[in-house]
């Protein structure tokens, strides 16, 4: 289409809540209810070992999953070193290491077969 008109219709940045697939977030919060307690304060991503080297942020991963924007999480989640500093810092007691583990499991399962 680009050739015909010299431009294409830009894709909106708007999250379409309905059509997004939130099955991974539901899988996690069902097995780890504290996942729902996250208030996005950023304590975890501040102390994150991996966050020291890259733009990896567990806070952002939490909200991306809850909004069903799984693609961005898929190729980032394995960067976590599971060191546990975030769970020590979290003011809401979110079991962050289990959230990461369940997320990897969910992606692994959905890659293999439907979660």
């Amino acid at each position: 289409m680009m050739d015909k008109f010299g431009f294409s219709i830009s894709k909106g940045r708007q999250i379409n809540y309905e059509s997004n697939d939130r099955s991974i977030a539901e899988y996690i919060s069902e097995k780890e209810p504290t996942f729902r307690l996250c208030i996005e304060c950023g304590g975890c991503s501040a102390t994150c070992t991996t966050g020291n080297f890259t733009s990896f942020s567990l806070r952002e991963i939490n909200i991306l999953l809850k909004r069903g924007e799984n693609e961005q999480v898929k190729n980032n989640i394995r960067k976590c070193m599971l060191c546990g500093k975030c769970s020590l810092v979290c003011p809401r007691g979110v079991n962050t290491r289990n959230v990461v583990t369940l997320a990897i499991q969910a992606f692994h399962n959905s890659a293999g077969h439907a979660v």
């Binding site: 708007q14 999250i15 919060s29 209810p33 504290t34 729902r36 307690l37 208030i39 996005e40 909004r67």
Partner: protein, 341 residues
């Protein structure tokens, strides 16, 4: 004890102050503009944070009023206070004039009229309701859309009419957040697999056990909180609501379709209170509430000696604070009357 105290406003502040004063033997007459006392308490079914039934609190007030023999004049709204001699005279809408040695103003607050936020479509779209409409539904036992169906997806918009320069209210009404969380839980209680969203700018859960309620809402009831001020609401062809908000924590706009939208209306100075202030040259603050003589040690004193303030006519308060504030006026009034001799 022949001193005469007039209480303007039959809400819980007026009842509390009136009962305590008349219990001390003073001649107290309370003027209430409507045909019922208790003010807004009658509109609320379950109270935060422990969701206790409001009838229990109403019973408390009935009892203290009857015990203290407080004289209540309903259906009379006071329009003006004028100093005369070393007392006051008040003028009612029925043309009566009554003298008194001291006046306690307890005109309370008005719930913000959500229709003033046009872009949210209150009064225009069928399924946009306010928090008090929802509370009435809870009292009736079921939450129902205009088409009679139960909403599967409900949204709560915080800060409607508060912290909003466009409607002239810069202040925070303090209680809408905890009310929203309470009502969100009650919606989930009635329909466990309903989806509930709260759109907030900040969660201000400052009272006792408010934050615990917030945690419970998240963990046990699975209510999702989206940080973003709803900009506008549109109505789809089947009367659902399209909410446009930016998820600021993700930095991206979000579009969401809901079956019902609840607007958490803030608290404003009551209209009759405003009229009374203007007519009686009583000072009001920039937030339009009555201005206390001193924020710290004179919050019960108005700008006129002998005219006292009690309850939410000075600022947004929850029930506990209102009652304590009303009780605080009693010793002030008694000291004033003693000194007046």
């Amino acid at each position: 004890m022949d001193k005469h105290v007039i209480i303007i406003g039959g809400g819980i502040a007026g009842l509390e102050a009136g009962s305590k004063l008349s219990g001390q033997g003073y001649k107290v007459s309370l003027y209430e503009k409507s045909n019922r006392t208790g003010g807004h308490l009658n509109d609320w079914y379950k109270l935060f944070p422990d969701r206790r039934n409001s009838s229990e609190v109403i019973e408390y007030f009935k009892k203290i009023v009857s015990d203290s023999g407080l004289k209540i004049f309903q259906d009379t709204s006071i329009e003006r206070i004028k100093e005369n001699g070393n007392g006051f005279s008040i003028y009612s809408d029925k043309g009566e004039e009554v003298e008194a040695d001291v006046i306690v103003i307890a005109t309370g607050f008005d719930l913000f009229k959500s229709s003033r936020k046009e872009e949210y479509g209150y009064g225009i779209y069928d399924n946009v309701i306010s928090s008090s409409d929802l509370e009435a539904m809870f009292r009736a036992g079921e939450v129902v859309r205009s088409d009679g169906k139960h909403p599967k997806r409900t949204g709560f918009v915080h800060c409607v009419g508060s912290r909003d320069e466009k409607v002239g209210n810069l202040y925070c009404s303090k209680l809408c957040c905890v009310t929203a969380v309470k009502q969100a839980i009650e919606v989930k209680e009635l329909d466990p697999d309903a989806k509930v969203y709260c759109f907030y700018m900040d969660m201000r859960m400052g009272g006792a056990y408010y934050e615990e309620l917030y945690r419970e809402a998240q963990e046990e009831w699975g209510i999702s909180f989206i940080r973003g001020k709803v900009s506008e609401v549109g109505e789809t062809i089947d009367n659902n609501l399209i909410v446009k908000v930016e998820d600021t924590l993700l930095g991206r706009p979000l579009k969401l379709e809901l079956d019902m939208l609840v607007l958490m209306a803030g608290m404003e100075m009551s209209e009759p209170g405003e009229k009374l202030a203007k007519a009686s040259f009583l000072k009001t603050g920039e937030n339009k509430f009555f201005a206390s003589a001193d924020h710290h040690f004179g919050s019960n004193l108005s700008s006129i000696k002998g005219v006292f303030l009690a309850g939410t006519c000075t600022m947004p308060m929850n029930i506990t604070e209102t009652i304590s504030h009303a009780r605080a006026v009693v010793p002030d009034v008694i000291d004033y009357l003693e000194k007046k001799g």
